[in-house]
């Protein structure tokens, strides 16, 4: 039996209009059709400027496409994120689709452990249990325990990225979007992140990733999706 589709896009078109620059139009995605099944990791390939990040952000609903559908498996059925109400979109993000961006954006002053535990608490998990799971993840990512009670604002880039990855993995979303997960990490910590992502995939998560690090690419990808370079003057 083939694993069920987790993501399917149909005719996804996305461009930007810059009103301050005489309403300049920047077309970026011209009709993307892709499919990702549970347990797959699709690596987005293409030259810089081909729209990899735009596609990722569009899949998360962060960017609003001009046309097309983004069907996500949610609660056993395919749901279109593009036409979803804001309320449904928020529910999709809580339960179904996670986005691990390159940088951590959080409220200042909140301890790292809380930042990691929050997405799980938002699903109604008991705060103590959520903190415990957060601790397990941070331990696996080798973030020193003395940092857990501190807000990450003063952490190094690599420490912040590991907090971000733990936060992105804790809710066990069946769909994960991952942008350069090892960019700020040394080889050892990069390998720890890869192991966790690999486990998530083996457990059935559908992953879409952008990644330049050749080792990580090899470890992660089960399939590639090539974004053609585009003609900016279009």
């Amino acid at each position: 039996m083939t694993p069920p589709l987790a993501i399917e896009t149909r005719g996804l078109v996305k461009g930007f209009i810059l009103h301050a620059q005489d309403h300049l139009r920047l077309p970026v995605l011209a009709g993307i059709d892709l499919q990702v099944a549970a347990g797959e990791c699709l690596l987005l390939d293409g030259p810089s400027g081909a729209g990899k990040s735009t596609l990722m952000r569009t899949l998360y609903g962060n960017y609003r496409p001009d046309r097309g559908q983004i069907l996500l498996r949610h609660d056993g059925a395919m749901v279109d994120l593009v036409s979803a109400s804001p309320r449904l979109a928020l529910e999709l993000r809580r339960w179904t689709i996670g986005y691990i961006s390159q940088f951590l954006h959080v409220i200042p002053r909140v301890p790292a452990l809380e930042i990691v535990a929050q997405p799980l608490m938002a699903l109604g998990t008991d705060p103590e249990a959520a903190r415990m799971r957060a601790g397990i993840l941070l331990e696996r990512l080798a973030l020193p325990q003395r940092l857990w009670p501190l807000p990450p604002a003063t952490f190094s880039g690599g420490e912040q990225q590991r907090v971000n990855i733990a936060r992105g993995l804790i809710a066990r979303h069946p769909i994960l979007l991952v942008d350069e997960p090892t960019a700020a990490l040394d080889a050892e910590n990069g390998a720890r992140v890869m192991a966790l992502l690999q486990e998530a995939r083996m457990a059935g998560a559908a992953i879409v990733a952008i990644c330049h690090d050749p080792l990580a690419r090899q470890a992660l990808a089960t399939r590639h999706f090539n974004l053609p370079s585009r003609n900016i003057a279009a």
């Binding site: 009103h19 301050a20 609003r64 928020l90 002053r109």
Partner: protein, 257 residues
């Protein structure tokens, strides 16, 4: 997911003489949601909040509030009926805590007063609840008998929040709650508001001109310009992929850190 919105505003228009302050405003707010309203001074965001709070009469439109087992049109009922129907289900946090506190009475009395208005009389219980709430908003409970007049701005704001939340409202309207505070105090208050809203399942309608505050607190955002909603969506959509010229201008005007 609950099936009815807590608040549904339909076709709300507010005129001051010839001037239109809010025009044809439509939106819904669901339990547990924080909805931000952003825009420049004079865009109508505070007027909209004050209409919903009943501080201003609406010219046209409906403000449907799900109170108890009933839906009340706050735009159509008088102050007395409003109190009876809505009671303490709706709170209002002012930008200036002095507008929302009674500075002549103690911190404890500021928290206990709404409960007393609701009929609670037992002194020991009132005092215990007041002390609990002081702790929840990170004010040392030994300050219970102190007059908030002498509190710092950040403490006063936290006290105002406790006074508003003690009756377990379902909806809290906030007008620039971090407006007059130092940046370090702001961060602490933002975290407190976020935590309380999540813990209590509160719906919050948050007016702010600070897009950073909106990004950290609000699930959804509405952008107002000259009394109209020009753009709305999930907070990160509106801030990262603004479509309207005005929103693009607003977002690009923020200093990046």
């Amino acid at each position: 997911m609950s099936e009815t919105p807590l608040l549904r505003v339909q076709g709300l228009t507010k005129r001051f003489g010839q001037r239109v302050a809010c025009l044809d405003i439509d939106f819904e707010l669901w339990p547990g949601e924080v909805l931000g309203i952003v825009g420049e001074s004079g865009s109508g965001k505070t007027t909209l909040l004050r209409c919903i709070a009943g501080q201003l009469h609406v010219s046209v439109g409906e403000i449907l509030f799900a109170a108890h087992d009933d839906i009340a049109d706050l735009a159509a009922i008088g102050e007395g009926e409003r109190r009876r129907r809505v009671g303490h289900d709706l709170g209002f946090v002012h930008q200036n805590p002095r507008d929302g506190l009674r500075l002549a009475v103690s911190a404890g009395a500021n928290i206990a007063e709404p409960l007393m208005n609701a009929g609670m009389r037992h002194y020991g219980s009132l005092r215990r609840i007041a002390a609990d709430w002081l702790a929840r908003v990170e004010i040392d409970p030994t300050r219970i008998d102190d007059n908030p007049h002498h509190f710092s701005g950040g403490m006063q704001q936290r006290l105002q929040i406790a006074r508003n939340l003690v009756t377990s409202p379902r909806l809290v309207l906030m007008d620039e709650p971090t407006g007059g505070l130092d940046v370090s105090v702001q961060a602490r208050l933002l975290d407190l508001i976020r935590q309380l809203a999540a813990d209590l399942g509160l719906a919050v309608l948050l007016v702010t001109h600070d897009l950073g505050v909106a990004r950290l607190l609000a699930h959804r955002l509405m952008v107002m310009q000259e009394g109209r909603i020009v753009e709305a969506g999930l907070t990160d959509q509106v801030l990262d992929d603004p479509h309207e010229a005005y929103t693009q201008l607003l977002v690009s005007s923020v200093l990046q850190l």
